[in-house]
């Protein structure tokens, strides 16, 4: 009995030490991107998946924020203060995202740029709303992220926006008469865009001949979905999902000898950056993107070359949105004339009104403004892939 008590006691002690250890650990946060100097800095937090199936999106965001932060710090910081940046992994899971958020809170985060995925972002935005921490998400496009949360803003287009614009664009330009849709029914982003597209398609008189779904557990083989669209004689495929699956769809359609007009949304951006991908397959694909890695302007080229140099690989639109996000925060902070001494609540309230005054020209759009709902004004633009590059068609 004594020994058993001892062992239980030991276990309890171990558990308790875990708690305590964790408590003290939390305060200095993690990541090698944290500045440990004692001087007063802006504390910018970031959350996104850097491990797990969505890691490529989270890592792009993390790297891009790092580039922007380094640039700003080099140029003298925001209102004379340097930025400390801390990015935490959430594996694209809502609960882990809240854990990551709490870790950042312990670190003393003042502003959050994140999270990357919609489901996790909805959970975190409820927390930031209660704690009054300003949040801007580079890529969580669902309306559930901003709904009822005055402190949450989006840099990317919202789902309704994308779905509606796509349907209108296809109808106006007569790209197709019989529409086939393939979407990810287990993903909030994909099914959100699909539903808005289908609603608008009915309004503008597009005929949807096939609606096929896939799920996160079933996203290697698209031959069946393509075959059904082909059998339904769809001459345009609407593909609201990410480029990882997009590259498979294009390859398999090519193998089948099925060549309808392909129309992706912003998730398709990054397709041309997939290592070893045969860009000929993407020829003639339409997509909505605010960002093109091979754009000629100086800002884009600077960003892309820095990204390639530091992290390797071509940055995708997630990265570009995240890069813009840091500068948008900078503009808003400068407009509100804040210093890091202000409390989180002061910063949050000041930024909420300041960001609605901001008019920002970035990599992902000209003259971006925000309304009180947290949505960005930029409207999705369709581009077409020609000769391995994006060509604007509007």
């Amino acid at each position: 009995m004594k020994k058993r008590l001892l062992s239980l006691g030991l276990c309890a002690a171990m558990t308790a030490s875990l708690f305590v250890g964790c408590g003290s650990n939390g305060s200095n946060g993690g990541g090698d991107n944290v500045e440990t100097s004692g001087e007063l800095t802006w504390r910018l937090g970031g959350i996104g998946p850097t491990t797990g199936g969505a890691a490529q999106y989270g890592q792009g965001v993390m790297n891009a924020i790092q580039i922007a932060v380094d640039e700003i710090n080099e140029a003298g910081g925001i209102n004379g203060y340097q930025i400390s940046f801390n990015f935490q992994d959430d594996e694209a899971d809502a609960q882990k995202s809240v854990n990551a958020y709490n870790t950042l809170k312990d670190w003393g985060m003042q502003i959050l740029e994140g999270t990357v995925t919609s489901g996790a972002c909805a959970a975190v935005s409820a927390e930031t709303y209660n704690d009054r921490i300003f949040q801007i998400t580079p890529s969580a496009s669902s309306t559930s992220v901003t709904e009822g949360h005055d402190n949450t803003f989006q840099i990317c287009f919202s789902d309704p926006n994308q779905g509606t614009v796509s349907a209108d664009y296809i109808a106006e330009n007569g790209l197709g008469t019989k529409i086939g849709i393939i979407y990810d029914s287990s993903d909030p982003y994909s099914s959100g865009v699909y539903q808005n597209f289908a609603t608008e398609a009915a309004n503008v008189g597009l005929e949807i001949v096939a609606t096929e779904a896939f799920t996160a557990d079933n996203k290697t083989d698209f031959s069946t979905q393509l075959q059904k669209c082909k059998d339904a004689k769809a001459d345009l495929l609407f593909l609201p999902f990410y480029y990882t699956e997009g590259s498979i769809v294009l390859t398999q359609a090519n193998q089948m000898g099925y060549a309808p007009t392909m129309f992706g949304v912003d998730g398709f951006d990054g397709l041309l950056g997939v290592e070893n991908f045969d860009v000929k397959l993407a020829e003639g694909v339409y997509l909505l993107t605010p960002f093109a890695a091979d754009a000629e302007d100086e800002a884009t080229q600077n960003f892309v070359s820095k990204y390639e140099e530091q992290f390797g690989g071509t940055p995708n639109q997630f990265a570009a949105d995240a890069y813009d996000g840091v500068y948008i925060i900078k503009e808003a902070l400068e407009a509100a004339n804040l210093t890091p001494e202000a409390s989180n609540e002061e910063i949050c309230d000041a930024l909420i009104s300041a960001i609605q005054e901001v008019n920002y020209n970035g990599l992902t759009g000209e003259g971006m403004t925000w309304n009180e709902l947290g949505e960005v004004s930029k409207s999705p633009k369709a581009v077409i892939i020609q000769d391995g590059g994006y060509v604007s068609v509007q």
Binding site: G26, T51, S191, D217
Partner: protein
């Protein structure tokens, strides 16, 4: 304490330890010494512990490997969150949460019962795969489930939001893969701890009751148990249903602690089922307090490793392998015994399990 049997003493000790920890946590929280991360983790840790206790009942006492307990957690979470969301305006907070808890638990128990009827005819790894299959089916169905509410009542669809045929101004309650957003946050640490202790007591009483002894007899030798006239199916059903119900309670707690409830592979799919199994095996098969400790430690671990940034999950996996070898490898156990790096509890567990084998 002398006249209590060993397992009861252990239960009392466990509850005492939990109570002490609870008191420490509460004091730290109220004095502001607890980090946000820790206070954020308190409720989820209890939820995972609950599911682990439920699964341990199934693995340790029924002797059947279930890879679908995240599915029961999912049922508990979604039914209770749905109820809370649907009656958010019409029922006051406290009775609504109690009702949600009852509904979530009963729904999980019902699913456990329905699944157990066909499943318990199988055994071993075949049973494991069928429970895994059920868990995946539950997750898949929830991902295509759309429920809306307007003045004419509830609307269901298994396709998409448009086919709900809602009036304008209607409220979407369950939105497919977006799941349930805006569940009222009512799971407090106090409620979670009370439910955890309750589950431990229920589990303990069950395994030491007449029924529980029968279940153990079936586990150890089904044919012998059958020969002495035990109704095998009935006892197995009872044990499995209780196990699912406890997992359902975990789900209710989990759902009422998070704003956005979605069913993904990581939180309600096979990944989570496997993670819960890890808690059970690492904590000791048949050892409820062990499950709780393992759930706490393994939930904390990846959070504590955040300082390692990119190497976090890599180190976590190595720690997991090393812990397993340290706790289970016969060679290492012998070494530990010879060099006194042992605790009687671990050895007891090991011996007990060898006998089972």
């Amino acid at each position: 304490m002398k006249n209590l049997n060993k397992t009861t003493q252990k239960l009392i000790t466990t509850i005492a330890v939990i109570a002490v920890l609870y008191a420490i946590m509460q004091t730290m929280q109220s004095t502001g010494n607890l980090s946000s991360l820790m206070s954020g983790l308190l409720v989820p840790v209890c939820a995972y512990s609950l599911v682990a206790v439920g699964l341990n009942l199934c693995v340790g006492y029924l002797g059947e490997l279930s890879l679908g307990h995240a599915g029961f957690m999912c049922v508990g979470a979604f039914t209770s969150a749905f109820f809370s969301k649907a009656f958010q305006e019409s029922i006051p907070d406290v009775p609504r949460f109690i009702l949600a808890l009852v509904i979530g638990t009963c729904a999980a128990a019902l699913f456990g019962f329905l699944i157990a009827i066909p499943v318990l005819r199988l055994s071993g790894d075949y049973l494991a795969i069928v429970t895994l299959a059920f868990g995946e089916i539950i997750k898949n169905v929830i991902n295509v489930l759309y429920i809306g509410k307007d003045s004419s009542g509830l609307h269901f669809s298994m396709k998409d939001m448009m086919s709900l045929g809602m009036e304008p101004g209607g409220k979407i309650l369950v939105n497919g893969p977006q799941g349930i957003t805006g569940t009222p946050r009512q799971s407090t640490f106090t409620i979670a701890v009370i439910l955890l202790i309750l589950a431990l007591v229920v589990a303990h009483n069950f395994v030491n009751s007449r029924t529980g002894r029968a279940v153990k007899a079936i586990r150890d030798n089904q044919i012998a148990a059958e020969t002495v006239g035990l109704p095998i199916t009935k006892y197995k059903l009872i044990a499995f249903t209780i196990s699912a119900a406890i997992a359902g309670v975990g789900g209710v707690i989990y759902a009422h602690n998070i704003n956005s409830l979605t069913a993904t592979t990581n939180n309600f799919g096979y990944n989570m089922s496997i993670m819960i199994l890890v808690y059970v095996v690492l904590g000791g098969i048949g050892n409820f307090s062990g499950s709780v400790i393992a759930a706490v430690v393994l939930t904390m671990l990846p959070e504590m490793l955040r300082g390692l940034s990119n190497y976090r999950m890599l180190i976590y996996s190595i720690v997991l392998i090393v812990l397993m070898l340290f706790n289970w490898a016969p060679g290492i156990l012998k070494f530990r015994e010879e060099h006194g790096i042992t605790s009687k509890g671990i050895l007891d567990r090991f011996k007990k399990h060898k006998e089972v084998q």
